[in-house]
């Protein structure tokens, strides 16, 4: 609970550096080995270069793609649909989940739907949505909402349900009313778990976004990728996959950085 007061003394600093050297080197080492294999295997003829192009060629192709306006239009379209879907899921999921956590009847009402809905593979719903709303933006956004809504609701529910009652009492004892305590105690107290749910939601929604675009085609970054595959441009497919992997990693990384920066009071991991 208390801070470690003596972490800054020279002897300790030295031993901490020594202890953290493997912690720094080993992760870099594993990534370097993977990239090295990726480069060497096609060149040495262990795998066919048409199936797995060497890392250096993929990077060249990535560079070329970044110069194509068509790539950017598709990426921007996908990003926009993702942002709208993700925002909708938050707007619906966080209030619903936190209210379920504080009001039992609502929990009893909604919980069966979550239990039934949770294991349904959302990608399987894409074709239904297209049947109902066509292959336009509506279906593409709804599938993103469908993908991440349940994790967001469930984590918000747990966050609000697990609040220490005496924390609420403290606020009530200081003059906070019932409605006020929802905004000023329940929401912030549930925030750590809500944020974990959002992190999960980011990963799942990107997956459903790509799945929908690979299935519906037409527009979007997934569709752009599939077209390259159809045309036999393995290198482009690899370059696209690399870019998407980096985007996914960057989103998660930036999310964690933002949380740490803006919510310095958080304890432990999100």
């Amino acid at each position: 609970m208390a801070q470690a007061p003596d972490a800054g003394t020279p002897a300790r600093l030295g031993s901490r550096l020594a202890a953290s050297a493997p912690a720094l080197v080993l992760p870099i080492l594993s990534v370097a080995i993977l990239l090295g294999l990726w480069q060497v295997a096609p060149r040495a003829g262990w795998v066919r270069a048409t199936s797995i192009p060497p890392f250096s060629e993929v990077m060249t192709q990535v560079w070329a793609l970044l110069g194509e306006p068509e790539f950017w239009t598709n990426l921007a379209g996908s990003a926009q649909r993702w942002a709208i879907g993700f925002a909708l899921a938050i707007i619906v999921g966080v209030p619903l989940g936190t209210m379920m956590g504080r009001w039992r009847p609502l929990y009893r009402l909604v919980d069966p739907l979550l239990v039934v809905g949770y294991p349904v593979p959302k990608a399987a719903l894409i074709l239904l949505f297209v049947l109902w709303w066509g292959a336009g933006n509506a279906s593409r956004i709804v599938i993103i909402v469908a993908g991440c809504l349940i994790p967001i609701v469930i984590s918000s529910y747990h966050g609000a349900h697990g609040i220490e009652p005496r924390l609420l009492w403290s606020a009530r004892g200081l003059g906070t009313g019932r409605v006020g305590s929802w905004f000023r105690v329940v929401l912030p107290a549930a925030l750590p778990q809500i944020l974990s749910g959002l992190r999960l939601g980011i990963a799942i929604s990107i997956f459903t976004l790509l799945a929908s675009e690979l299935l519906i085609r037409g527009i979007g970054i997934g569709s752009f990728m599939f077209t390259a595959l159809d045309n036999g441009q393995t290198l482009v497919v690899f370059a696209m996959a690399t870019i998407l992997a980096v985007i996914g990693f960057a989103l998660d990384f930036l999310y964690m950085r933002a949380v740490r920066r803006w919510l310095p009071w958080l304890e432990g991991d999100v």
Partner: protein, 268 residues
């Protein structure tokens, strides 16, 4: 010196307050009729075997838990809901983790609609009073247990409550810090003359702080005995321990508690 004011109307008056908890496995009788009177400015401790419902009684006075029977009045009016005039400090440090020390202490004033500038000034005064100057911008996770409890005390005192309800506030704090906090609490109490209901399991703490001690029986709890702590004030935590009167009182409370813990007090 404690002055006798028999004419003063009671600040808190409990008559036959009881509490029954409904659980899936049946009804649990936690409190079986507690009578208690606290006059304005009195410091009253409630001790009893663990699990006897002394905290529950405090929560009923706070308005957080509803009594199942009996009457409970504060200034003659029945208690219905929590109110800033009855400030509470819990055992675990239930500060708002998302607020700084300053933010925690200012919280109640913001709820009361006090302008920001004024809130800041008042909060600073209370932070200084509990000796936390320099820690205004710290978050609760950066504080020790004793410091958190100082913040909790400041957060409650800033509302200027008539009544201070304390639920084993120093129970989870190391022995040295505890004595310091007890002494500071006594000084604040002697200055502000608030009515204090103090739940504790420590006989020494109750003797050092209180005017009277209510010893509760084991569950379902009743008042086993009320003991007047007629030790002169201001008290010195070390000096009083050696006095014969302290020894007598300590033995009396201790033997009552021991009897209750064993369960042979229930038949009386």
């Amino acid at each position: 010196m404690t002055e006798e004011r028999p004419a003063a109307p009671p600040k808190i008056e409990a008559r036959g307050v009881c509490k029954v908890f409904e659980s899936p496995r049946g009804r649990v009788r936690a409190i079986d009729g507690i009578d208690l009177v606290a006059r304005p400015g009195e410091f009253i401790s409630i001790v009893g075997p663990s699990g006897c419902g002394k905290s529950t009684f405090l929560y009923i006075v706070g308005g957080f838990v509803e009594a199942s029977g009996g009457t409970l009045t504060v200034d003659g009016a029945p208690v219905q809901r929590p109110d800033p005039s009855r400030g509470i400090v819990f055992q675990e440090f239930v500060l708002f983790p998302w607020k700084t020390v300053l933010g925690n202490v200012m919280y109640g004033l913001a709820e009361r609609g006090v302008p920001r500038r004024e809130r800041r000034e008042q909060a600073q005064a209370y932070i200084d009073m509990v000796h936390l100057s320099g820690f205004e911008k710290h978050y609760p996770k950066e504080l020790s247990g004793g410091m958190k409890q100082r913040v909790a005390l400041a957060r409650t005192l800033i509302m200027d409550p008539d009544i201070l309800l304390m639920d084993e506030p120093f129970g989870a704090i190391d022995a040295q810090t505890r004595v310091v906090l007890q002494t500071e609490l006594l000084q604040i109490w002697e200055r502000t003359k608030k009515t204090v209901l103090f739940v504790t399991h420590s006989v020494e703490e109750a003797l050092y702080l209180s005017d009277r001690i209510y010893v509760l029986s084991g569950r379902p709890s009743r008042v086993r005995e009320v003991i007047d702590v007629d030790l002169p004030r201001p008290r010195d935590s070390e000096a009083i321990v050696g006095t014969p009167r302290y020894g007598e009182l300590h033995r009396r409370v201790w033997s009552l508690l021991q009897a209750e813990q064993r369960g042979d007090g229930a038949s009386s």
